[in-house]
Every structure is written in C-alpha cells, then in structure tokens.
C-alpha cells in the first residue's frame, strides 16, 4: 500500500514533468470539463457527513453535494460528476497535476496552502475547529487536563501542527501517533493505544459513530484551532475558481431568500428581483461565468440550498447530530454569508 503511495507520488511528479502534454494551459478547466462531459471531484476516503459511500456505493455528504451542485450548474445534471477518493497527503498533488478538477475534501484553508501549493481556496462550505475525543471513563472533561496524554491522529493534516502548538502553549506534554488513514487511527484509539483522538470537531462526531460503543466516548468542548474547510482549485484559473465560489454562494443566497429545492419550481413568477437574478430570469450571470443561465436554479433544484445540504448530511436529525453553530446564516448569528448576486 505504501509502495502504491510512493508510486503515486512518483507518477504525479512525472505528470507534472509532462504537464504541457496533459494539463495544458492552466486557464481552461471549464473547457476541459465541458469536453469531458463530467466534473472530476477529489473527496476523502470515507468521512460520514462529508464524503462517504453509502451501502449502495453512492457517494454522500456535504462535500459530495457541493461537487454535485457544480455539475448541476454546468451541465444541468447533478449526476455528471465522478469522485476520486484521496488521502490527506495525496490531495494537493492530485489537484496540481490535473487529475481532479476540484478538491472538496474537508480541506482547511490556510495561508501556506493558498500561497505556496499552486492551489486557490475560493469558498468555505464548513467552518470547523480541531478538538479531542476521549473515553468517558477516563474522567477528563476539558482538554486542559490532557497533560501527558498520547494522541492518535491522521497524518498529513493541520492537526499534527495544531496539537503540537496547543500542548506547548499550555505547557503540557504529549505523545503523537500519526496514522496514514483515519480508519487505522480510530482503530488504534479504540483499542487503547491512545488516550485521545484528535481531528476536526465535525470529524470527531463522524468517527465516533464508527466506534463499537459511541456512548462510551465524549467529544471535549474545547476548540483549539480555526479550520475553515472549503473547496480548492488550481491556481491561475480564475474562471473555474469563480464558478466554484459562486455555486457555493448561490446555495447560501438561496437559503437567505427562502428558496429551497422544493419550492424553487414554483418561484418562476416571483417578482422579487433578488430571486429573479438567482433563477437566471434577469441579468447575464450565467453567461459571465461561461455556463447556462439557469446554473443556480439547477444547483438549488437538484441539490438544495445550503441549509438543506447541511441538515441532510450532518444536521441535528442525522446520526452526526451537529448544530448549525458557526455554519448558520449570518442573519442567525453564524458565519455563512453570500456576497450579493447582482
């Protein structure tokens, strides 16, 4: 398996080497996608609520729905998307080399990644933060009591750095055991190798579901870092980046306007100018992006507005049971805010 990773790395390097023959100029992802007929979307290898294959093998989750919304906006068909599962350390090479058009892989937007890796982050579809999960019988109620703890985590994420900074800042000792895949990290935590499992809060809730007895584990309340998760594209392709950003904003704007996948069909005669622009009845927004005029209509109709996507995948009525919190609309005290579509 590790050999496979090495080979993958080597191949990706080779791809970069021959890039003029394959990726071509970086400015035309939309043309490539149009010609190919579907969007190639890089997702995680299985994180419930974000990107996870269900029992029939269909991908589900917030990140999956985001890629579906992009496909709906471009092709008018949310099914015209294919998913490539990527490990944390493969993801940037995959987008750099042109293997995928977009990574929607619960990836943290950080300055280093945005400026040094040849990728651009264009939106935040989930505001997250790192936390800790421990066994309930350990008697720990706050992460400040974790002095001397052994932590299991996934390798190649911002998690390792955040944990190091947090423990040093609080003058606590720790030992870190970093696994290549989340599954092994959780399995090792489950078998007692570590006192705590640390990753993004949302993922803690998701992974807890996979444990033999979820009730025997608690997620500690502290959030030790800012983890704005969002889709990323290759740097230098502004047209494609604009599409990614505005598909997200369209789902948020739809929620702001009370437009849902159920009622959008009957909104055709709405006189609200904002809704008319969102539905493509007014203005040339689709044409400006180089995609059909009903792009936002299709995205919301086939996938839903931001609130629907959230509630369907991670919301209070799903096994994850996550409250909107930071991800509520700005009008409800959250951080989700769409620039005006006008």
């Amino acid at each position: 398996m590790q050999i496979k990773r090495l080979v993958f790395g080597a191949l990706a390097s080779l791809l970069l080497a021959f890039a003029p023959l394959s990726v071509g100029a970086a400015g035309n992802t939309l043309d490539v996608v149009m010609k190919r007929g579907y969007v190639q979307c890089g997702v995680s290898q299985g994180l419930p609520g974000f990107s996870n294959p269900d029992d029939k093998g269909n991908w589900t989750g917030i990140d999956v729905d985001f890629c579906k919304a992009v496909a709906a906006a471009i092709f008018g068909d949310a099914a015209k998307v294919k998913f490539t599962p990527l490990s944390a350390k493969e993801r940037f090479t995959a987008i750099q080399s042109g293997e995928v058009d977009i990574i929607a892989r619960n990836t943290t937007w950080s300055m280093h990644r945005d400026t040094a890796l040849g990728v651009d982050f264009r939106a935040v579809n989930y505001y997250d933060g790192q936390g800790f999960m421990v066994r309930a019988d350990l008697g720990v109620t706050s992460s400040t009591e974790l002095d001397g703890a052994t932590l299991c985590t996934n390798q190649g994420t911002t998690t390792e750095l955040n944990a190091a900074d947090y423990f040093r800042a609080n003058n606590m000792q720790y030992e870190i055991v970093a696994f290549e895949k989340a599954d092994e990290a959780v399995a090792a935590y489950n078998s007692g190798r570590c006192d705590a499992y640390t990753t993004d809060h949302s993922a803690l809730y998701a992974q807890r579901l996979k444990l033999t007895d979820p009730q025997a584990h608690i997620v500690l309340p502290e959030i030790i870092s800012k983890e704005p998760l969002g889709p990323a594209v290759r740097q230098g392709d502004n047209v494609w980046g604009d599409i990614i950003a505005w598909v997200h904003y369209a789902t948020v704007a739809a929620e702001e306007l009370g437009v849902t996948s159920k009622n959008i069909g009957s909104m055709g005669n709405s006189t609200n100018p904002s809704i008319k622009r969102l539905l493509g009845k007014d203005g040339t927004f689709g044409a400006n992006l180089g995609i059909p005029a009903d792009w936002a209509f299709q995205a919301v109709k086939q996938v839903g507005n931001y609130g629907e996507i959230f509630e369907r995948n991670v919301g209070i009525n799903t096994p994850l049971g996550i409250k909107r919190g930071y991800n509520a609309l700005w009008t409800d005290g959250g951080l989700q805010y769409a620039p005006p579509i006008r």
């Binding site: 940037f92 390792e160 055991v177 290549e180 007692g192 190798r193």
Partner: protein, 374 residues
C-alpha cells in the same frame, strides 16, 4: 561506439528537458520549489526519535530522525530474520518428522500471507489484548507492558563503566589469541583444542576484577505511572515491535527456503567424505557444508535484505515514524513539494540498497571459490 554515444547523449538531453520542464511547470503553477524548505521549522512531534528532536527542529532533522528509525527496524529485522531463517532452513532438512513439518508449515504460512496484513495482525491483534497503562503488567515494578508499549528502565552509565569496557576489551583480545593458538595447533598436528572454557574463565575473572575496582557501572532511570502514562525510562512503542516482528517473521520464511536450497546444492559426497574423515555431523555441517552452501545462499539473501529494508516503508500504515511516514508523509503535506521530497526519499532508498549490495558483494567475493573469482 558512436551509437552508444548517441544514445547516451539523447538520454542526457531527455533528462535535462524533464528537469527544466518540471521547473517551468512548477513556476507557472506557482508551486514552491527548491530544497530551501529543509532548514525550516518542522512544528510537529514524533514519538520515536533516536536523536534529539523537538517541534523546533528543522525538516532536515525530520529526515534524519526518519532515516534512523528506518535503519533501526531494518538492521534489527535483518539480524532476526537471518538467525530465524537459518534455523528454519536447517530444520526443513531435519530427519525428525515433527521439526521438519513444523518448519514447512511456518514457511508456507508466512510467505503466503501479504506482509501488510501480517503487520496489521501483529499491531491490532496484539494491541487489542494488552491492558491499559493503569492495569499494566509489571515485572518487579521496573518493566511495564501495556498498550502503550514496553517501558524499561533507562540505563545511565557511570564513571565505573570504563573498568568494564577495559575488561571486555581485554577478554576480546584474549579470545583472538586463544583462537589463533587453537588454529595453529590444529594445523600443526590436527589436535582440536577447546577454547571456550579458558575464555569463559578469563572473561569472568576480568569482569569480577572490574566490579571490584569500579562497583556498579550504571544507574537506572526507573519508569513510573504519572497521569495517563509512564514517565521516565525508555519506551519501546508497539508500532516498532509489530513492524519488527512482521518484517522478521515474513522475511525469515524466504531466507529459510534460500538456506535449504543452498545446503541441498552441496553434493552429498561432500558430507560423506567429511564423515569418512571422522568429522562429527555438526562439525561437518559447520566446516564443510555451510561454507560451500554460502556461495549459493549469499546472492538471493542480499535480495531479501534489500526487500526487508524497502518493505519497512509499510510502517506508515501503523504509524511507525519511518522515513516514508515522517518525511514523504507528514513533511510532504506540510510543505507540499512532492517532486523534491519524493526525489530525496527515492535517492535515500537507492543509496541504502546500493550500500547493502556493495557490502554483500564484497562478502560474496571473499567466500567464492578461488577458481571462480574473476
């Protein structure tokens, strides 16, 4: 000659084009390049370091830590696999039915199950059955076994250690002298002198002398449970134990087959001749059969050593901090420069393999038949 020069020229040109192309592509896509990142601060922790390391160390230090961890598990793995492999190989030829079949079953099981599964088995299978630190199995309150690994007291040398060093050196010199004397007497009149008894007596005497002069040569840093975990002492992490076990047991199965083939390649007449000369079975095996078998054994054995070293990169699956895990893994994602990092990692494995091959080839040349040397 001209053709060869042309091919070489074309190859060099292709390489230059490839490198230039990578560079221009990286620049065009605005991806950092170069090796400057090696001196930057790493910022993450590693749970097994043979040299001083902290989050403030550089990525170059991470590379060294990872390389040493790879070497540690590879060298120990090679030693264990060789010992076990030779024993199994000889056992495979035993006339004792039980010994013979046991070795056969071992070989067939271990070489036919994928290594990754074996690593996972030893890691998760064993880990799951170990107690938590608070219920650790302890040996005299000094050695503790739990799912955090084996914690043993750390040995700290005192000044008296010098006496013991001197005693060991003296015993070593005496051993060499005894061997030489035994060899000379064997060559002179064929009499076999046992050197072990005088050697053991002299070694014991010199150690006793050192103890008298220096006293206890070391002090212990005894581990104790504090909070979640043991503090003090040396921790052998479970990832290391699982990886070492899996690599040695797996490779030993292959070495056993190589040893068996090597021994069988020595013609039966050699053993019969040794027997006719009055050499006991064990001596015949050691002095007549094995030296000839080694010539057949060494080349494929070298391949197994190389395989073991390269297979150690499977470490990443169970979080053992080897070079692929901490450098081609964590460092790669922190820095994002896949081309440089994969290149450095490949070069290191290449160098390790070439060094191993070189050493084994030297050994092979030494034991080759004089007439076959070229």
């Amino acid at each position: 000659m001209l053709l060869q020069a042309l091919v070489l020229g074309a190859l060099v040109l292709a390489m230059v084009w490839l490198v230039a192309n990578v560079q221009s592509n990286l620049e065009r896509q605005n991806i950092n390049s170069g090796f400057g990142f090696l001196s930057e601060r790493a910022g993450f922790g590693i749970n097994q370091t043979l040299i001083d390391y902290s989050e403030d160390s550089s990525f170059a230090r991470v590379l060294t830590v990872g390389l040493l961890n790879t070497l540690l598990v590879s060298v120990l793995g090679i030693i264990l696999a060789t010992i076990l492999g030779f024993a199994l190989g000889v056992a495979r030829l035993s006339s004792n039915w039980l010994v013979n079949k046991t070795a056969m079953v071992y070989v067939e099981i271990f070489r036919n199950v994928p290594l990754l599964l074996q690593i996972m088995f030893w890691y998760f299978g064993v880990l799951r059955n170990l107690p938590s630190p608070r219920q650790a199995v302890s040996l005299g309150d000094a050695v503790f076994l739990s799912n955090r690994g084996i914690v043993v007291p750390a040995l700290e040398m005192t000044a008296a250690a010098w006496w013991y060093g001197a005693a060991l050196a003296a015993s070593g010199a005496i051993y060499v002298w005894l061997r030489r004397r035994a060899r000379l007497s064997r060559l002179a009149d064929g009499s076999l002198i046992s050197i072990w008894r005088p050697f053991a007596m002299i070694a014991l005497a010199s150690l006793a002398f050192a103890a008298m002069m220096g006293g206890v040569p070391f002090s212990f840093d005894i581990p104790a449970l504090k909070g979640f975990n043991f503090r003090g002492g040396i921790t052998v992490i479970p990832e290391f134990v699982a990886l070492l076990l899996a690599l040695s047991l797996y490779t030993a199965a292959f070495i056993a087959e190589i040893v068996r083939a090597g021994i069988q390649s020595v013609s039966k007449g050699q053993r019969e001749a040794a027997s006719a000369l009055g050499l006991p079975d064990n001596t015949a095996l050691r002095l007549v059969v094995i030296p000839q078998a080694l010539r057949v054994i060494i080349p494929p054995l070298t391949s197994q050593y190389l395989n073991l070293t390269k297979n150690s990169s499977l470490a990443v699956a169970i979080a053992y901090p080897d070079i692929v895990s901490v450098f081609a893994g964590t460092t790669l994602t922190q820095v994002g420069q896949a081309v440089e990092i994969i290149f450095i990692t490949m070069m290191i494995y290449l160098t390790l393999s070439l060094l191993t091959s070189f050493a084994m080839n030297r050994y092979n040349a030494r034991i080759a038949l004089v007439g076959q040397k070229s």
